[in-house]
C-alpha cells in the first residue's frame, strides 16, 4: 500500500534578481508502507530540498511551484478513530484530501503541517550531531516532542517513554538526564533516531544518516535503522550522496541529478542493470560491495547551477554519451524493461518500475561497456574544452 506519492513536484528558490533556482523539476516517486526508499545524487541535486519540502521545512525563499505530495494520513482533526480521513473531509472540496483518504501535504497551511511533522513524518536532519539543543537535557527534548503531539500523555509517562526509546537505540536510559555535549557523535545520532521514533511516525526521513561518522559507526547506524523498520514497520526515506549506503539499505531508489530524477526503480535493478549514464558515473566514483578492487573514477565537471535552466538534458554537459537530441529537451522517463527486452524507447508509466531518463536507452549495452573505461570520462572532458 502506498504511503507517499509524490507527483510532478517542482520546487523553486526565489533569487533576489527575480530569477529562480529550479531545485527540483517534476519529480515523481512513491514510497510503500514498510519500505526503505533511497534518494541518491551529488550534493546540490535537490534531494534534501525534496525531503524538506514534504513537511514544509524549506528555507524562507523556497516554495512549491507545482505538484502534489499525497500522504496516507491526515490531520488529527480530520481523522476518525482509526486515523483515516472522515468521509465529510473527503467530500469537502476545500480540504486537500482525496477519495482514497490521502492528503496532499503540499496544500496544507503551515499551522496544519505542524501536526503532520514528527507525528506522521519524522526527519533526521543532515547534521544530526548538531541537532540536539545544547542547553536542554536529551531526555527533555524527546519528551518535548511526545508532549507536543500527544498532549494527553503525562510528563512522567513521556519521560518513561523517552528512556525506553533511548534504550532501544542502545543508550543507557539514565543518560536521558545528560546534555548533548556529554554524548559521543554516534550517541547523538542514535539519540536523534530515538527521538524520531518518539511518536511512531509512518515515515522517517533520514537525511545523510551516516555522513561525518566513521565507517564502523556508519554500519551500526544503518543496522539501527533497519532494526527500527522491522520493529515499528516504519517507512524510511533515506537521502545520501553515497550510493554504497543505498546499496546496503534501500528497497527501491531514485537517482537524482540537477533537480531531476534520472533513474528510479528497485535497488537491485538499478545496480544490476544500470540504465543511465549518470548512475553509471556515480557508481564509478564509489567503492561498491560488488567490485572491491575497482578503480574509482569521478565524473568530471561540476553540477549545474539550476538557475533558470534551459530545456536540454540536465546531465548533458558532463555526459560522455550526449547526442544532438540531448540539447533539445530533457529526456522523459523510459521504461528500462521495455528498452532492454524490446529495444524500444517507451515512456514508463509505472512509477514503481525501473525507469531511466536517457535518449540512448536503446543502446544500454554499449553505454555500460564504455562507462567502465576511465578514458571515456576523462577524454570527454578534454574534448569539451
Amino acid at each position: 500500500m502506498t504511503l507517499l506519492e509524490v507527483n510532478d513536484l517542482s520546487i523553486r528558490y526565489a533569487v533576489d534578481d527575480g530569477s529562480s533556482v529550479h531545485a527540483t523539476d517534476d519529480v515523481s516517486f512513491s514510497v510503500e508502507r514498510g519500505e526503505t526508499y533511497g534518494l541518491v545524487g551529488e550534493s546540490g541535486c535537490g534531494k534534501t530540498t525534496l525531503a524538506k519540502s514534504l513537511v514544509h521545512l524549506l528555507d524562507d525563499n523556497g516554495y512549491v511551484e507545482n505538484g502534489n505530495v499525497w500522504f496516507d494520513g491526515t490531520l488529527p482533526q480530520w481523522s476518525d478513530e482509526q486515523g483515516d480521513a472522515t468521509q465529510s473531509v473527503i467530500d469537502d472540496p476545500d480540504k486537500p484530501v482525496r477519495a482514497d483518504g490521502k492528503t496532499d501535504l503540499a496544500a496544507l497551511t503551515n499551522a496544519q503541517i505542524r501536526d503532520i511533522r514528527w507525528r506522521d513524518i519524522a526527519i533526521i536532519p543532515q547534521s544530526a550531531m548538531n541537532a540536539l539543543n545544547p542547553v536542554y537535557k536529551v531526555g527533555d527534548q524527546i519528551v518535548e516532542a511526545i508532549l507536543r503531539h500527544e498532549p494527553e500523555t503525562t510528563a512522567d509517562e513521556a519521560h518513561e517513554r523517552a528512556r525506553d526509546l533511548l534504550e532501544r537505540v542502545g543508550i543507557e536510559p539514565d543518560r536521558a538526564d545528560d546534555y548533548a555535549h556529554q554524548f559521543s557523535g554516534g550517541m547523538k545520532q542514535r539519540a536523534v533516531i530515538a527521538m524520531a521514533m518518539a511518536c511512531s511516525p509512518d515515515l522517517l526521513i533520514a537525511d545523510e544518516p551516516t555522513t561525518a561518522l566513521d565507517v564502523i559507526i556508519q554500519d551500526r547506524i544503518l543496522e539501527e535503522l533497519e532494526k527500527l523498520q522491522e520493529e515499528f514497520g516504519v517507512s524510511i526515506l533515506v537521502i545520501s550522496h553515497d550510493i554504497s549506503v543505498m546499496a546496503e539499505i534501500c528497497d527501491r531508489m531514485a537517482v537524482m541529478y540537477g533537480g531531476k530524477v534520472m533513474e528510479s526503480g528497485p535497488k537491485d535493478e538499478i545496480f544490476g542493470e544500470t540504465a543511465n549514464p549518470y548512475t553509471l558515473g556515480l557508481k564509478n566514483s564509489f567503492p561498491t560491495i560488488t567490485s572491491a578492487d575497482q578503480d574509482l573514477v569521478s565524473i568530471p565537471g561540476t553540477p549545474p547551477t539550476l538557475r533558470d535552466p534551459d530545456d536540454g538534458c540536465r546531465f548533458r554537459d558532463r555526459c560522455p554519451f550526449a547526442i544532438e537530441e540531448c540539447h533539445a529537451s530533457h529526456p522523459p522517463m523510459y521504461d528500462v524493461e521495455a528498452a532492454e527486452s524490446l529495444g524500444r524507447s517507451e515512456e514508463g508509466t509505472d512509477e514503481r518500475a525501473h525507469r531511466s531518463a536517457c535518449y540512448r536507452i536503446d543502446e544500454l549495452e554499449q553505454l555500460r561497456t564504455d562507462a567502465i573505461e576511465e578514458s571515456t570520462w576523462t577524454e570527454q572532458r578534454i574534448e569539451s574544452r
Binding site: V55, L57, R114, D115, I116, R117, W118, R119, A122, I123, P125, Q126, S127, A128, M129, N130, A131, L132, N133, P134, V135, E144, A145, R148, H149, Y179, H181, V192, M195
Partner: protein, 329 residues
C-alpha cells in the same frame, strides 16, 4: 543548577579581592596626583599654624604619603571608609543614603532594558532582513546615536513641562501631604521614577538588542532550530525556547559591560533628573578633592562590577550547561 565548585568560587573571590586591592591602590595614587587638597576649604585666615597643623592631623594629612596609603588600605579592609570633609559626614552614611537610590533607578533601568533589548533583538534577529527588521533596526541605531541627556531633556520638556504628567526630579515628593505607608511610598517612588526610567530605557535597550540580534540570527541556522521545527513545534516555541535561549549567552556578557556604562551615565542622568544618588556626588567629590568620598564611591563601583562579574559566571552556567567553572582543577 549552578555548576560552580566551591573551590573555584573561593579562588574567584580571592582574585576579585586582589583586583579590588589593585584598584584601590590605583585610586589612591590617581586621586593624590591631582593638584589641590580638600584642606583648602577648611583653613581660615585667623588660624595659627598650630591650628592648621591640627586640622591636617585630624585628616591624617601630616603623615607621609606611604603611611597614609597603608592606613587607607587597613581602613578599607575593616570597613572604615572615613569621614567626608566636604559633606561633613561619615562616608558610610553617605553611601547608605545614596547608594540605594542609584540602585533603584539604574537597577530598574537595567532590568527593563535587558528585558526589552533581548526581546526586540530576538524578533529582529529571527526576522532579519524583513521590512520590520530594517525599519526598527535603523530607528534604534538612530536612537542609539543620541546622547542620553538630550533624550532626557526631551522627555522632561514634553512629559513634564508641556503635559505635566510626571515629575522630572527627586525620588520622593519633597513635602508630602499624604501619610507614609509602604503603599504610598511605593506609589510615590513609582510616580517619580517613571520619567527617568522611561527616558533612560528609551535608548537603553538598544545596546543589548545589538548583541542579541546577530547571535539570534546565527542560531537560526543551527541544527537544533531545524529539528525543533521538524518536531512540529510552533514558530514561537522554536524562537523563544530553542533559539533565543542559546542566543542569550553573549547578552549576559554584554550586561556586565553595559553596567559600567550605566554608571558612567549616572553622573549625567542623576544631575538632569535631580536624583540624589551616587552619580551626583562623584564629580563634586573629585573636584573638591574629597578623597574619602571619591575613594569610597569608586570603590563601591569597582565592587559592584566585580560582584556582577561573579554573578554572570553563575548565570552563564545556568544559560549554558556546557560551561563549567572549576571542574577538574
Amino acid at each position: 543548577m549552578t555548576r560552580i565548585s566551591g573551590k573555584y568560587l573561593a579562588k574567584r573571590i580571592v582574585v576579585s579581592y586582589l583586583t579590588l586591592l589593585v584598584i584601590m591602590s590605583l585610586l589612591f595614587v590617581l586621586l593624590r596626583s591631582m593638584p589641590g587638597s580638600f584642606i583648602t576649604s577648611m583653613i581660615s585666615s585667623g588660624m595659627t599654624a598650630e591650628q592648621i597643623e591640627r586640622i591636617r592631623e585630624t585628616w591624617g594629612l601630616n603623615e607621609p604619603l606611604w603611611k597614609q596609603y597603608v592606613q587607607f588600605m587597613i581602613n578599607y579592609q575593616t570597613g572604615n571608609f572615613g569621614r567626608s570633609p566636604t559633606y561633613n559626614a561619615q562616608v558610610w552614611d553617605l553611601i547608605v543614603r545614596r547608594m540605594p537610590r542609584t540602585l533603584v533607578l539604574f537597577g530598574s533601568t537595567f532590568i527593563i532594558g535587558f528585558i526589552i533589548g533581548p526581546l526586540v533583538g530576538m524578533y529582529l534577529g529571527w526576522w532579519r532582513g524583513s521590512t520590520k527588521d530594517k525599519s526598527i533596526f535603523s530607528t534604534s541605531l538612530l536612537l542609539y546615536s543620541m546622547p542620553s541627556f538630550w533624550i532626557s531633556w526631551l522627555f522632561i520638556w514634553v512629559i513634564n513641562y508641556e503635559l505635566d504628567w510626571l515629575p522630572s526630579a527627586y525620588m520622593f515628593t519633597q513635602f508630602p501631604e499624604f501619610e507614609w505607608t509602604a503603599f504610598t511610598v511605593m506609589r510615590d517612588v513609582l510616580y517619580h521614577i517613571a520619567l527617568p526610567v522611561m527616558s533612560l530605557t528609551f535608548i537603553g535597550w538598544v545596546g543589548s538588542m545589538l548583541i542579541m540580534r546577530p547571535t539570534m540570527n546565527q542560531v537560526t541556522d543551527e541544527g537544533y532550530v531545524f529539528l525543533a521545527r521538524a518536531k512540529g513545534l510552533s514558530e514561537r516555541t522554536v524562537m523563544v525556547k530553542h533559539a533565543a535561549r542559546n542566543a542569550l549567552i553573549p547578552v549576559a556578557t554584554g550586561a556586565v559591560v553595559s553596567l559600567a556604562f550605566l554608571i558612567d551615565g549616572s553622573v549625567i542622568i542623576e544631575n538632569v533628573f535631580n536624583w540624589p544618588g551616587m552619580g551626583q556626588i562623584i564629580v563634586s567629590a573629585v573636584l573638591n578633592r574629597d578623597f574619602p568620598v571619591a575613594q569610597a564611591v569608586f570603590f563601591m563601583l569597582a565592587l559592584l562590577i566585580v560582584v556582577m562579574r561573579l554573578l554572570t559566571d553563575v548565570v552563564y552556567t545556568y544559560l549554558d550547561p556546557r560551561i563549567k567553572f572549576g571542574e577538574g582543577e
